[in-house]
């Protein structure tokens, strides 16, 4: 029972909500956050993990471009362990692209977005898998950020500063008393219990789901949300080491992001109904369409296996503009004018600008509560990011191989020492001094899983995946979920039946893409079903 009064109740555990919870708790406020699934399981975890330099938006959305450019620098500084300043290229292929190049270059300058034209030969030397008929290339400061870990580290720090984070708790209603919002009613999905929490300010950070929370209020201008669905494909093998953009106005299938051992290719933009938000899945022809577009950037892309695809919903406000031209800026909606000073909705924006969105929202909260508290998040490193820990340190200290160290350097930062301390309980057989690998595709070791279990509030088996990338590789968990289930049996008091329930749930999330999968992926899913349903008799 959470009965005490909070300064602030945050609804929604994506990067926006987690960022706000951290910012508020650093300012000394008493915060509670509710998330209906796991943190980062909604839009945050379904993006392409791109750290925008702003270049993509210079043409239509100057303000968003400048915001991205500033925030990009800040994030690289405060979170060196989960970002990669790999840089990005805009590659032009046809006459139209070449002409857009001039407009693009000018627009970058006007938005203070760093951009330089480079020699095509040099580009192809850096990225030999890209189309060799590229006609024009610009280099920008795009990067990569792990959207999952960014969320968990924010939440981790919030908790360290006194915040409470409740995952798998769905806020069902606002509690309104005498026309004043005083709290929320929520349903704890794991314990199947309803409860209430009271607070002075409620922040709606539920992204495309934002209008759900308005349903109990009488509003003259309710939110008009028009979420668009973007589909992304994960392709086996790290075919590029920089971000690749098509040199043209933002369109479909024109971004490739290198992510750990694979690349992410996308995206599309399609209006979706609010009632479909929880079950977004791309259709076969959409996947084919993106692959076709991807071929113009990397001609051999089809020779590499498609290992996963997913769709996320962008939180966009309905307007008459074409979908691609709706601004990617964010809005903070204060319901004071509607007679509810205790409610704020934060809406829109990008993963890259989450920190700024949180800062502005928290400024408004402080103003409402008549408090003076400085925002620290632009300078204070995210936990683990106090300094950059390089691959070699992981290799030397933890004795792991080069590939494992490569993946570790984008996850744990200065926490490697804590992970090292957990190693002695789970040493690998071959060397006797390296930690044991559990997920062979993504090189996730047992002490890493053990560390997130202790620090990142793992509630169910499926939670390990987002925190460590376990099960995200080519075999999609086929050869590691039973080991994860075994660890959960070892580390918790849960009953065998409950673990089986959670295992089934986690596997079903991997298997659900079957309807749109290609033949190879379908066979892999079928094989996974053989192993677990037939071999393991998982009911």
């Amino acid at each position: 029972m959470v009965s005490s009064n909070f300064d602030c109740i945050v609804v929604g555990g994506g990067i926006t909500g987690a960022g706000i919870a951290r910012d508020l708790s650093l300012r000394g406020l008493k915060v509670i956050l509710f998330e209906k699934n796991d943190l980062s399981e909604g839009t945050t975890g379904r993006c392409h993990a791109m750290l925008h330099s702003g270049a993509r938006y210079v043409y239509k959305d100057k303000e968003a471009a400048t915001e991205c450019s500033v925030e990009n620098e800040i994030l690289l500084k405060i979170a060196p362990h989960i970002t990669e300043a790999c840089g990005g290229y805009f590659m032009g292929l046809d006459r139209e692209d070449i002409e857009y190049g001039d407009v693009f270059y000018e627009a970058c300058k006007n938005s203070n977005v760093s951009c330089e034209e480079i020699n095509i030969k040099d580009f192809l030397q850096e990225e030999p898998n890209c189309n060799r008929y590229t006609k024009r290339v610009f280099k920008v400061k795009d990067g990569y950020v792990d959207p999952f870990l960014l969320t968990y580290y924010n939440a981790y720090d919030a908790v360290n500063n006194g915040a409470i984070i409740k995952t798998y708790c769905k806020v069902e209603n606002l509690i309104v008393k005498n026309d004043t919002i005083i709290g929320v009613k929520y349903f704890d999905l794991l314990n199947k219990k309803r409860d209430e929490a009271y607070g002075k300010i409620i922040i709606n950070a539920t992204g495309p789901w934002a209008s759900d929370l308005e349903k109990d209020l009488t509003l003259s201008e309710p939110l008009k949300i028009a979420p668009t669905m973007g589909t992304l494909l994960v392709i086996k093998d790290r075919l590029v080491n920089h971000l690749i953009n098509r040199l043209r106005k933002p369109g479909d299938g024109d971004i490739i992001v290198p992510s750990h051992n694979s690349i992410i290719l996308g995206t599309t933009s399609k209006l979706v109904k609010l009632e479909d938000l929880d079950t977004l899945l791309p259709e076969k022809d959409e996947i084919e369409y993106i692959l076709k577009l991807g071929e113009s950037l990397i001609p051999t892309i089809r020779k590499h296996r498609l290992i996963r695809f997913y769709s996320g919903a962008r939180p966009l406000i309905a307007s008459g503009d074409p979908l691609r031209e709706v601004s990617r800026k964010f809005d903070i909606i204060d319901y004071e004018k509607e007679g509810y000073p205790g409610l704020i909705t934060i809406f829109g924006g990008k993963l890259t600008t989450y920190r700024l969105m949180a800062e502005k929202t928290c400024d408004l909260v402080c103003k409402k509560l008549d408090m003076e508290a400085e925002c620290e998040t632009a300078n204070l490193p995210i936990p683990g990011g106090e300094n950059k820990v390089h691959k070699k340190v992981f290799q030397d200290e933890l004795n792991v191989d080069s590939k494992t160290a490569f993946n570790m350097q984008f996850k744990w930062g200065t926490f490697y020492k804590e992970i090292l301390n957990l190693c002695e309980h789970c040493l690998d057989s071959t060397t006797f001094n390296a930690p044991r690998t559990i997920c062979e595709c993504e090189n996730v070791t047992e002490p890493e899983l053990s560390w997130v279990k202790k620090n990142f509030d793992v509630k169910v088996i499926d939670d390990y995946r987002r925190r460590t990338r376990q099960g995200m590789g080519p075999c999609q968990g086929l050869f590691c979920y039973f080991k994860i289930a075994n660890l959960e049996a070892k580390w918790t008091e849960k009953s065998h039946a409950q673990i089986m329930e959670e295992l089934k749930l986690a596997l079903n999330k991997r298997w659900k893409i079957e309807t749109s999968a290609d033949e190879l992926l379908k066979r892999q899913i079928k094989f996974s079903k053989y192993i677990y349903l037939l071999g393991g008799n998982l009911e």
Binding site: F482, G535, L538
Partner: protein, 431 residues
């Protein structure tokens, strides 16, 4: 080239358990057949059980009749009980390393414990697998041995399941393989620790260390004293090991260990399948070698067509390996035992089944006989039939759901029964 090409009576495409069992059956009748296989398939993930319908019914014959009535499209619909009974009995008597479950002289299903800790009804199991739960009571003490080097271990899941479902006390005993061998001969250690220490290597090691079983047993005993202080050794009734205790001599090792430890030792059904699969594979290969049947590995079928030779219609099959080497085979009968999941290896780049079939330059069959024969243009040519057996049957039957395949009909049971049926038909045609 065509002059040199091999001529067979039966060409079996696919070297999983379905293909090998068919080859075995044909060899017993002196039919000239060979196996062509890509070398990768679902059989490599066999876990040690023989399943036939996922029903826990004592009277399988009756359940089978009911199942057939309710599932008109299922492959089992085409089989008679006599054939089921005969084919399984034949299989179990050929491979005495299996334990066949019986009830009053009839084949029956019994529960075994899967690696996830769930119970699963099976018609038979590899002899050394733990299954007899009825003997557990409040006083039973069961030790679950977990080698910390065994990377696929699920002993904690199994322990939890046993605790939740059965009377008795269950304890995990953590053993270290490396600690066990560290005082041993240096040469042995060098060969063990060169490269990765795989489960197969550990199993091989036990195969070669029969004389050291006493040392192993002493190690187990001393660790029980160290780790499980409240356990009275003489009250332990079972020791359950992961299947790493040998690939060829596991029966012997288990027997000796049981004797020395003075408790029954058994193995667990393994999701980590390399060892179980290797055991059965060895048995099959030995048997086929005795009968002089060729197994041609690392070959992928690239085309198949009908040709006329000396007035007879035969199949001409073209196989190729990864290096591009080609081999042409002529055969009176062709059997597809290619499974459904691994046509060219699950993680390879090439994939699409339909494309492969188009490459066969034969149209897809329009009917599929009760003997799993593919019938083209409604004509059954008894002198040049083409068949499917094992789970490959699912490629040719329309209207079957995934549940039909996964829940009720795949695995070693389907392979045994359908290969027997196909073998029977080919023998009839050849008469």
């Amino acid at each position: 080239m065509s002059k040199d090409s091999k001529f067979l009576e039966v060409c079996i495409v696919g070297g999983g358990f379905a293909g090998m069992n068919l080859a075995r059956i044909l060899a017993e009748k002196n039919i000239n057949s060979e196996i062509y296989t890509s070398g990768i398939g679902a059989s490599q993930f066999w876990v040690g059980t023989v399943d036939f319908l996922n029903y826990n019914k004592e009277d399988l014959k009756q359940s089978f009749a009911k199942f057939k009535a309710n599932n008109p499209k299922h492959p089992y619909k085409r089989l008679e009980w006599d054939l089921i009974n005969f084919s399984f009995r034949d299989f179990f008597s050929t491979f005495p390393n299996f334990k066949c479950f019986e009830n009053n002289g009839d084949l029956s299903n019994q529960y075994v414990l899967t690696t996830l800790g769930n119970l699963k009804p099976c018609i038979g199991i590899w002899n050394t697998i733990f299954h007899n739960f009825d003997s557990l009571n409040e006083d039973s003490i069961v030790i679950l041995v977990d080698f910390i080097e065994f990377n696929n271990s699920t002993m904690h899941l199994v322990e939890k399941s046993l605790k939740d479902n059965f009377p008795g006390k269950f304890f995990i005993l953590e053993l270290s393989f490396i600690k066990l061998v560290q005082d041993w001969d240096a040469n042995e250690q060098i060969s063990l620790f060169q490269g990765n220490l795989t489960e197969i290597k550990i199993a091989d090691f036990f195969d070669n260390s029969l004389e050291k079983i006493e040392i192993i047993a002493d190690y187990v005993k001393s660790e029980v004293v160290k780790q499980l202080k409240n356990v009275e050794q003489n009250k332990i009734v079972w020791y359950i090991f992961p299947p790493v205790l040998g690939i060829r001599k596991e029966q012997e090792i288990i027997k000796n260990l049981s004797k020395i430890l003075n408790a029954e030792c058994k193995e667990l059904v393994a999701i980590s399948p390399s060892i179980m699969s290797k055991r059965l594979n060895n048995e099959f290969e030995n048997r086929l070698q005795e009968s002089d049947i060729g197994i041609n590995k690392n070959l992928i079928l690239t085309s198949i067509k009908k040709i006329s030779e000396k007035g007879n219609i035969v199949w001409e099959l073209l196989f190729s390996d990864k290096k591009g080497n080609k081999e042409t085979i002529k055969a009176k009968y062709v059997v597809f035992a290619i499974g459904t999941t691994f046509l060219e290896g699950i993680f390879s780049e090439l994939s699409d089944l339909k494309r492969i079939f188009q490459g066969f330059s034969i149209s897809l069959p329009n009917t599929f006989s009760d003997s799993f024969e593919l019938i083209f243009n409604n004509i059954s040519d008894q002198k040049s039939g083409i068949f499917a057996c094992g789970s490959a049957i699912y490629l040719f039957v329309e209207g079957l759901t995934e549940e039909d395949e996964i829940k009720y009909g795949t695995g070693l049971g389907l392979s045994i029964a359908t290969s027997a049926k196909v073998g029977e038909k080919i023998l009839e045609y050849l008469k």
